[in-house]
């Protein structure tokens, strides 16, 4: 009985410790003297890996999600004779929710797992230790560019996702199922507000990008240096990243709908 209680306590202490370590880790990324000239090249490399290479999966899934929304939307709205509201339905659901959340989930799967595995393998093969031996700060050389690349790429990817998804809805709704083109765009424009919908969506993506890359980089950096440890770190970065995105989305949506 007492053993059980002590085990519970140990788990609690470990979790709190991890939270503290990850917080310190984040502060070490954020509060450092920037070395713009030298960091630039590293950042561009990572932007390519994290951002540009994620583009294909984002564009394809955005297209399909938009097209499915168009199909389902027309199908349901037809019952009320309100197909003209399709543009509003597609744009609002994509810009407010689907764009940020689905992009962040895909991003956690595509880029977050890769980051965790890469950094975990560096840890396992002692690359990080040897960098410290050569007086190269691994936080600067490895972690910081990857973190910032994630934070910068995520909003861009989400905006591209939004545009592609709306275009997909347009193609299915207007070109294929015959919704009026003028009604599609004008209803969309009259109901979507730039500050309330578009900007709030972008704020969400920035927060998600921050959370997902933070978790991925942390899991990789503090992974157990074995094959099993890397696999655990990769799994955790995806699972924790996705859960964090969904939880944060709920909190942010409450804040945005009910006023800050």
């Amino acid at each position: 009985m007492l053993e059980l209680v002590s085990r519970l306590g140990r788990v609690g202490i470990q979790n709190c410790q991890q939270l503290g370590v990850s917080g310190l880790f984040l502060s070490r990324i954020l509060f450092r003297r920037p070395r713009i000239g030298a960091s630039y090249k590293l950042l561009v490399d990572q932007l390519f890996v994290v951002g540009v290479l994620s583009l294909s999966i984002i564009v394809v899934s955005g297209l399909f999600i938009g097209m499915v929304l168009g199909l389902q939307g027309v199908n349901t709205l037809q019952r009320f004779g309100a197909e003209a509201q399709l543009g509003q339905l597609v744009a609002l659901s994509v810009v407010r929710e689907l764009g940020p959340v689905v992009t962040a989930l895909l991003f956690a799967g595509r880029a977050g797992s890769a980051l965790a595995a890469e950094i975990g393998l560096m840890r396992a093969t002692d690359q990080i230790a040897s960098m410290e031996m050569m007086a190269v700060d691994p936080m600067w050389r490895i972690i910081s560019p990857r973190f910032w690349a994630g934070v910068i790429s995520m909003p861009i990817l989400a905006m591209i996702f939004n545009v592609v998804a709306i275009w997909g809805g347009y193609v299915v709704g207007v070109k294929w199922l015959g919704v009026d083109m003028g009604a599609f765009w004008s209803n969309m424009q009259s109901s979507v507000d730039f500050n309330q919908d578009v900007l709030n969506g972008i704020i969400k993506t920035v927060v998600f990008g921050f959370a997902v890359t933070w978790i991925a980089v942390y899991q990789g950096f503090y992974s157990i240096p074995t094959a099993a440890g890397i696999s655990l770190a990769t799994t955790r970065s995806v699972v924790y990243g996705s859960l964090a995105v969904l939880g944060l989305d709920f909190i942010l949506t409450i804040m945005m709908l009910k006023g800050w």
């Binding site: 545009v163 424009q189 972008i202």
Partner: protein
């Protein structure tokens, strides 16, 4: 060479993001329509605003010329004070303009319809519309109709 291609790819990625933002601003949220010029505010007091919401359109002859900025209760008169943002290009509304709360279709959202009067003077910034008509509440109308039908046999 390899690094140069990589930088170009990242640059294209950034530009694509910028274009996506511009598309979202102009095509999806129709921002340009409302950032052309400035606005001025006028207020109107209504007995009953029905289900009018902030950001509802303000229209003359069906053409949208502004938005509802805010809705508050006047604590002295217990009437609803509605602030309207009107585009500067429509700044020659006569002072005896009437404001009326109408509904788009049977189940549609409420909007404010202005019908201009014949006065020479124009409403200025922070001006007030004095002649207002409250929203028609469907339940009240039905109630009145039922009440009248009950009364009818007595008159005949």
């Amino acid at each position: 060479m390899h690094n140069r291609m990589l930088e170009i790819a990242v640059g294209i990625f950034m530009i694509a993001g910028l274009f996506a933002l511009i598309f979202l601003a102009t095509q999806v949220s129709g921002l340009t329509h409302f950032s052309k010029g400035g606005y001025y505010t006028i207020t109107a007091e209504f007995d009953n605003i029905g289900s009018l919401k902030p950001r509802a359109p303000v229209r003359i002859a069906g053409v949208t010329i502004g938005r509802v900025e805010s809705i508050d209760l006047n604590p002295k008169t217990f009437r609803a004070t509605v602030k309207l943002l009107i585009e500067d290009s429509d700044s020659n509304l006569p002072t005896d303009t009437e404001a009326r709360i109408q509904t788009e279709g049977i189940l549609g959202a409420n909007y404010i319809a202005l019908s201009p009067g014949f006065d020479e003077a124009s409403l200025v910034d922070n001006g007030r519309i004095t002649i207002t008509h409250p929203a028609l509440i469907l339940e009240n109308l039905i109630g009145q109709m039922l009440f009248k039908q009950k009364e009818k046999p007595n008159h005949e």
